[in-house]
Symmetry: C2
Subunit: 329 residues, 2 copies
DNA sequence: TTGAAAGCGTTACCAG
DNA sequence: CTGGTAACGCTTTCAA
């Protein structure tokens, strides 16, 4: 690896000059600039980011904290973050916390030790103190933490929409799945749906599902039909669970959506590939990731921020686990 | 942020001593050790990794290069890599190449600039020169590159198994989907299946699908039944495509697996949630990731390596898009 | 317009 | 057992 000194020597100038042309800072004669550029090319030199980072106390690194990249919702967020960071010359250090505060803290610490310029975190849980007085900006993604910048979807509204749509389409005995208590968006959805359901005249059951994993999803699906065999509408806590429920319903010989309607949350890519394709409340995950990255960059550059809490809209994606609405109903 | 000097001052010793207790290198009296530890705790000091990295020319960073984290196969690999790296104190810088050599090179360069100790790459394409004479170890994951360490599944055998099983279960007009030419595992699967099909007495069609994306998968599925409406067995290029085909077949009213058998590749988590659940050739993605991480660490530590090319076994996961084999057939 | 040199926070070597 | 100090590769004054 060539160093700046090698370049200086090759170009017959001082390291200071090389540094100047590298950073386009200060005056440097056009001729010497050319010589330096030439030398750089010859030696295939590229500056050592670590040395740079040490001197400036800065870097081109961003920390990305996810609960679990294996959950299909998060890769989309991650990709959104990465795509804009990449274009801006930032690289991501990433870690999965498994919603575990210790692991999370461990990552945050090493992020700091590596001079990251900011953090995007999708793992905040209420009460968590890991983010207290961090000297760098942090934006929460998919989650919120009071007072901190964040990008998230309107979960409550999503819940309302889900309940409204399923009722509008004729379900009379709705089962509402409540996601993990400590995951804010899950709680929001639940509350939104609960609000509408409570105010309606349909019967409904609430069933708690305290995880989102593939493994457990099957368990919830199974449990659901044992407990509430007569349910004719399910508002699932996310698309994975919804898919598991669809699977189980089909296995039990129920016709979808005639006997049973199902609405999921998230609109992960595979949801349109189930059969029948899943009706769901869509979160614009990729765009949320991008938005979060943009916000963080502004924060890092200390630019003026209009809104530091960005709420993204959710939409009902009508596919075929819900019936068509009867206009004359 | 406290520095080592602050700690030294607080403990009334020299930075050299602090460094010694930090790294447990060289002698230091138990009493002073305690004083230093105390000061470290008081100041909430933790060593600056950047300075460390600059001095040692090393770091605790690993580069991870993926084609696209949004494809559900890769998060599993990534998680495997991360889990063992995490335990060993390594952090990941990660990037998606989109199978684009320039983007790939860009990432590799910044990896180097950040002193990563090694790279795990799942994006190699034949002919790619981006990895030529890198001064650090690299292990290819899911791909191979002649001479370089790698961890991959036995795609060819997977293809053979898929063809054998589908024939054994009675398909007479098999459609074999050929994945992207430049993706080695896809090619291997294809060749393995082709080998068995060619040697059998069933008819078969070959259809080329040059991507693995969700978007395109639907297109292939559609095309398939237009071109080969009489096919009664599909060997898909991966589970995403298989799911899309299952979807389309169901949409067309075909009964699965009676009229049409489908076998996928990978066994991504959602494959067991389709209905009917997808029969597939499983790759142990998570374990492959772990294996790759372990191999890379050994390489970094310059430990003796038994095998630098690790082939992982594939297995037929019999679910319900294939019929039961007729023992008396 | 250019160069010398200090310093970013560590580690490792050499004396003592 | 401990301390002083050079060095890692870079950027940034300060002088020239």
């Amino acid at each position: 690896m060539a160093t700046i000194r090698d370049v200086a020597k090759a170009a017959g100038v001082s390291v200071a000059t090389v540094s100047r042309v590298l950073n386009e800072t200060g005056y440097v004669h056009e001729d010497t600039r050319k010589r330096v550029l030439e030398a750089i090319k010859q030696l295939d030199y590229s500056p050592n980011e670590v040395a740079r980072s040490l001197f400036k106390g800065e870097s081109r690194l961003i920390g990305l904290l996810l609960p679990d990249i294996t959950n299909p919702f998060f890769p989309q967020l991650a990709r959104g973050v990465e795509d804009v960071m990449q274009k801006q010359g930032f690289r991501l250090i990433f870690g999965n916390s498994d919603e575990n505060a210790e692991k999370e803290l461990d990552y945050i610490n090493t992020f700091m030790q590596n001079h990251v310029m900011g953090i995007v975190s999708a793992t905040y849980k209420p009460g968590n103190t890991n983010y207290r007085n961090l000297p760098i900006p942090i934006v929460f993604l998919d989650r919120t933490s009071d007072g901190n910048p964040s990008v998230y979807a309107d979960g409550k509204e999503g819940g309302r929409i889900a309940a409204t749509e399923i009722i509008k389409r004729g379900s009379k005995r709705v089962t509402l799945l409540k996601g993990p208590e400590h995951i804010r968006p899950a709680l929001d959805r639940f509350q939104g749906a609960l609000e509408v359901l409570s105010g309606s005249k349909v019967d409904f059951y609430v069933m708690t599902t305290n995880s989102f994993s593939f493994q457990d999803a099957k368990k919830w699906a199974n449990e659901l039909f044992v407990k509430y065999p007569d349910t004719d509408g399910v508002i699932a806590s996310n698309d994975i669970v919804a898919t598991a429920i669809l699977h189980e319903a089909l296995r039990l010989g129920k016709s979808i959506p005639q006997e049973l309607q199902i609405i999921g949350f998230d609109d992960i890519p595979q949801s349109s590939l189930s059969f029948p394709p899943l009706s769901t409340i869509r979160q614009p995950a990729y765009d949320m990731g991008k938005e979060a990255a943009r916000l963080l960059i502004k924060l890092i550059k200390k630019e003026k921020i209009k809104k530091k809490n960005i709420q993204m809209p959710v939409t009902f994606v009508e596919r075929n686990t819900t019936r068509e609405v009867d206009e004359h109903g």
